[in-house]
Subunit: 730 residues, 2 copies
């Protein structure tokens, strides 16, 4: 029997947050036991719906009539919380199914987190839930809190310590303790909350889906979330895109790094990826901001909650102290907030107000501003009128630490707020806590530490920029672009033999690393630029090949078993004539035999010299969560030592390829470094786009690709060496 | 007449902080005016000494008898505060001199900060003070506060908002607003203060000397300071060394970057230095810690004030949450805190206490610890007994946010504190503010944000390590080491002519950049390794030189006017025979004439090929504040793009040269990178030490040196190119 009639258009998770009734299965008469706390919280908070304790031993629990089974409850039940030993949970879920309950929280532990048996029990829960159309939160979760309707469906002790205030901040975390800490820190600074949810083992509902729900939730204006992992990368991508489309700021933390992706990686790109690089890329692509600390996450949320969305990245900075101004200006530069100079006409106006103060942005009123009636606000008004900076950073020293003395300034600030409704007004300085909170309700953001204020303001601007990029990316779509036009590339001699199981254009059946010739064959077909090369199995072939491509030539040993051919002397450059080629052929065979006695040697590759350029690295890493991710970096130490690489989800649009290139600091070397000529970045962009399309087309079978180096030249570029690794069949 | 008899052995600044009497010159009857506030503060706070308002218009001011002049005050006066218009200050100081007052604060503005006239007036004040043995604080300063004796000698509004608590933290800043902000933030978190001083224009007393005083001050246990500049680098060095010798933590901020050093730099090293790199180096060498934000400075101070000095860099991390544990473990790695693994025997003990918890460090008790009586503290005790980690990081979730429920744990923690008096015990989590403060008075450090706790704990450990290094450096001394033994280096052919005004072994009179030959001549004499090279002025000389050094050779254009000879094609490598050398000679002359028509060309340098190695960059920058600073970095993009260079004060000991090399990330390339052979780091160390000694010997005249590249090889290394720049005479 279906007791809940979901309203058409309601989000699939809405029933978790806004139920009309809840059954607590495993309810306790002791308000301090796990099964007693939610009952107490509902009662004390005044949950607006019906509460049904379920417990076979009591007729009444904490003042509510109790039932031996959910099936005994008269009328419909929207949601159940199961707080029982793990072994009893499946039966309880069966009873919920019979009662027609569609939303069930399993707070009990002893499931997926507790070894194979628990994992099996969890799978049984999930199967049963799926069969009956039940959505499952948990198991092993801390529950959820919905503030406005006083639905305190959790046994977290955080609720005993701190009463939530209603407001626009939602917190979704996998870890209950992480969520409780974030909750407590939010309450302590006076931030009002809409929804708090901890997803635990995420057998069904995960943080990503909660973000998706919160993006639609009218009570939520800002979303803070913390992930330890991610079960479904595309679900997270969709949720972030959804929140970006709704223009809701998402501030994320990701803790814990898994070595799984790294250990399994056959490619260099994979070893550089970890799983953090993929999360970083996916967060940014989704318009979200990654915070480094819980405090920083809440700082950014606080600014977004109290201030209008900044229309540009410009800020006006006013302080009563030169030193603090410089500190904040340095921080602004670091977070990408622009402090435009003061126009000449404005300078005159400012001099008229404060003749003693040096004009600039930051503007230092000097402490003498205290002698000018309403001086600080007058300066702020004048600067806001003359400059279109979306953000005002106003260091008010300890003026707000003495509320009695702040009355005039306070009144003046309120007028300023009304005059500039579309600007972010950020007050900074040590303050009285009550006054600070009042000012926040009146439309200001207020921070004590100057540096933290700037970081938060910068993140608010960054969030807007990222959301715009995310919407552009969504418009490009994640569909695979059409096959690259091969005709657009120089035709190449194709004498190389595809070997082993690599069948050009289709994925091979076996799991293995392709040799250079095979790898390049595939890349050439994907439209990437590969030099005309010849795989030769005897010296005469090699000399003929050299004559065909033209002297001087390069000779390389070809073996899928020799990954680092330069390290064994397996690459000989600048061979000028036939004798040199013949000698090289013999030398390479000898070196391969000496360095890797068992290696299967496929022959010697003869190719023309590529000429000069800058060596870059292009790669693909199949992230276990997020699928193919494209990597870009420059050759040499910038990648190895400084990890100066960037990742982006495949496929890339030309614009996202450009953004990927720009995220690598060493890319400056490509754009006319110190008087050297600019290189063909368009060719690089094109190669990245084609590589990403290839990766998507072969996502099912591809493990990873290294193109190292991709030599970028003044005109065009070349894949000079490549590794392609196919996955073992599942 | 001398009214103050300084106690023998007292610090020269002690009279500022512990006077028995103070005259306020320019005292006001209005307690809210600048001249009235200090009187009010003294009265309200109960300053233990005598207060003498000086004001010609009133016989009594705010309850104190007033005097028309300091000279009318009966009996001795230890200190005077001058709060008058700038024009009246000199007369007031004269009166102080006549009265025999030795310590004078000038709080008035309108001096050095206000243009040339103010600068002249400030110089007059200083001259008068020097003449009479008066120490001067300010002018344009906010004054000082000495908490225990209630000497509130300031007109800062911060004192109206927040009453200082007595304690061990001293705050010394140049900027009054910076000091007030730090003061207010310290009070708001319950940190007790000893002394607060703002030095303003620093005409006499500067922040460095205040640090020196505070190092001796028995009431001060931790020193926080903020600099905007530094008038005397060696004074700052001595002050930091003094504090390190006293084992007092010094936590510093430096705001504002001056472009002076950069703009004036003739060398590449100079352009990389800015002035921030020198401050960074001097802070670290002095055993001090640089904080990035005011909040971080106070976090570190708070930990140092409440906890014993950590005896090692190891930490034990216990949380009731896996996610928070990972967050903190990541932060610990970033700050260099070691989390040693749990020994097997300890693992068994921990399993006996909490059978359900996975053993490790971080140790996650899981939320189920709530069901085990005293579980968290029992785990902490067991781990502290079995592991010698100096720091315990204990995330207690929101346990301390509900004081009533915390009583048992609180009592248990107090026993733990008594049992482990030498460990740093850091509690972390959202907390009730009153309870948090109580726990801090009971010997715990308590932080809300997990990441901030780890950063502070890491800094406390880093401070100890730096102080030890600073003491070792002090033992090495800043004296110039003996002349390097030239015999230890390979003898070199010395055919190069010293030209212009560069006289080997002595500083030249003119200000200019030496050409490569001249520069190398000096470096060779300083004991640095230079290849046998010949400056040739005609092709025949060049061929003879090539035969002398042996083919293949390098030919380079020599001109002090051509700084970037490679960019004009001014270096030709691998010349194999006489015709090649002759042709090269002509080519170089042509290229120099084409690229730099007016350049003075001194000839062509013929040198042997150096062979393979890694290119490094050695440099000296004469910092205007700190004197010669030695730079080290690796060639190429690591320096240009990633600013991967480090600076250290000259002279270097072998140990400090090693430390300098280690601070460069790319140094990994020197120590056997990816199977390549390790290079001769001892030769590099030797070159840096000799370079630093040379820099000190010529400190008066040297502007800067670039040795770029210094080619480091498997055995030895060579200065392949060099620029030496001498200063213009003062």
């Amino acid at each position: 029997m279906s007791t809940t009639d979901p309203v058409a258009g309601r989000h699939p998770l809405a029933g978790f947050f806004d139920p009309r009734s809840v059954a607590v299965i495993g309810a306790s008469t002791d308000p301090n036991k796990l099964g007693g706390k939610p009952i107490r919280y509902f009662r004390d908070a005044g949950f607006t719906g019906a509460v049904y304790p379920v417990n076979s031993r009591n007729a009444e629990i904490q003042g509510y009539p109790a039932y031996a089974s959910v099936e005994d409850i008269p009328g419909p039940v929207d949601q159940a919380m199961i707080i029982l030993p793990a072994a009893a949970c499946l039966d309880a879920l069966r009873a919920c199914a019979r009662k027609g309950i569609r939303f069930v929280q399993v707070l009990s532990s002893g499931f997926g987190e507790a070894g194979p048996e628990g994992r099996a029990a969890q799978d049984e829960l999930v199967a049963l839930a799926r069969e009956h159309g039940i959505r499952l939160l948990g198991p092993n979760c801390l529950g959820l809190v919905s503030v406005r309707n006083r639905f305190f469906a959790t046994f977290s002790t955080a609720l005993e310590a701190l009463v939530p205030l209603p407001g626009g901040l939602a917190v979704a975390t996998q870890s209950g303790a992480f969520g409780s800490c974030t909750y407590a820190m939010a309450i302590q600074r006076g931030l009002g909350l809409s929804r708090i949810v901890a997803t635990g083992n995420e057998a069904d509902v995960d943080v990503a889906e909660c973000i998706d729900y919160l993006a639609d939730d009218p009570e939520t204006r800002v979303i803070c979330a913390a992930l330890e992992g991610c079960g479904d990368g595309d679900r997270l991508r969709r949720a972030l895109a959804h929140a970006a489309a709704r223009a809701k700021p998402v501030i994320l933390m990701k803790v814990g790094t898994s070595a799984v992706g790294v250990a399994a990686a056959a490619t260099h790109t994979g070893s550089l990826a970890g799983d953090d690089a993929a999360f970083d890329a996916v967060f940014a692509e989704g318009g979200a901001w990654r915070a480094r600390t819980i405090e920083e996450m809440l700082d950014i949320a606080q600014l977004c909650l109290t201030q209008p969305v900044p229309a540009n990245d410009r800020a006006t900075l006013i302080t009563v102290s030169g030193g603090i101004g410089v500190l904040m200006a340095d921080a602004a530069e670091a977070v990408g907030l622009d402090l435009p100079p003061v126009p000449a006409a404005l300078a005159d106006q400012l001099q008229a107000i404060l003749p003693f103060a040096p004009v600039g942005n930051p503007f230092d009123t000097t402490a003498q501003v205290g002698a000018v009636h309403d001086g600080v606000v007058a300066v702020a008004r004048t600067m806001l009128q003359a400059m279109d900076s979306a953000t005002l950073l106003l260091y008010v020293a300890q003026m707000a630490a003495a509320p009695a003395r702040f009355a005039d300034t306070h009144a003046s600030l309120l007028r300023l707020r009304a005059e500039f409704p579309d600007r972010a007004l950020v007050l900074i300085g040590p303050s009285d806590e009550g006054l600070r909170r009042q000012l926040e309700t009146e439309g200001f953001a207020f921070f004590t530490d100057p540096s933290r204020a700037v970081v938060a303001a910068g993140a608010a601007v960054g969030l807007v920029q990222r959301r715009e990029q995310a919407r552009a990316l969504a418009a490009f779509g994640r569909a695979v672009p059409g096959e690259p036009a091969q005709a657009a590339l120089a035709p190449v001699a194709d004498t190389a033999q595809a070997r082993g199981s690599s069948r050009p254009g289709s994925a091979p059946a076996g799991a293995h690393v392709l040799n250079e010739v095979q790898a390049k064959q595939l890349l050439r077909q994907a439209g990437l630029p590969v030099l005309p090369e010849h795989l030769c199995t005897d010296p005469a072939q090699a000399v003929a090949a050299a004559q065909a491509v033209g002297y001087p030539v390069v000779a390389k040993i070809v073996s899928a078993d020799i990954a680092h051919k330069t390290e064994i002397g397996g690459v000989l450059l600048g061979l000028a004539d036939a004798p040199a080629v013949q000698a090289a052929f013999a030398t390479l065979q000898e070196r391969a035999a000496a360095a890797a006695p068992g290696a299967r040697v496929d022959g010697v590759l003869i190719a023309p010299m590529a000429g000069s350029g800058v060596e870059t690295v292009l790669g693909v890493h199949r992230d276990p969560i997020f699928g193919p991710m494209v990597m870009f970096g420059l050759g040499g130490v910038t990648v190895e030592l400084f990890k100066d690489v960037a990742f982006a989800s495949a496929p890339l649009s030309p614009a996202s390829a450009d953004a990927l290139i720009d995220r690598v600091r060493a890319s400056a070397l490509l754009r006319g470094w110190r008087g050297r000529p600019a290189l063909d970045v368009a060719a690089l962009r094109d190669a990245l786009v084609r590589l990403s399309a290839f990766a998507v087309a072969h996502a099912e079978h591809l493990d990873g690709i290294d193109i190292n180096p991709f030599l970028l030249q003044e005109t065009g570029g070349w894949c000079l060496d490549a590794v392609v690794s196919w996955r073992a069949p599942a």
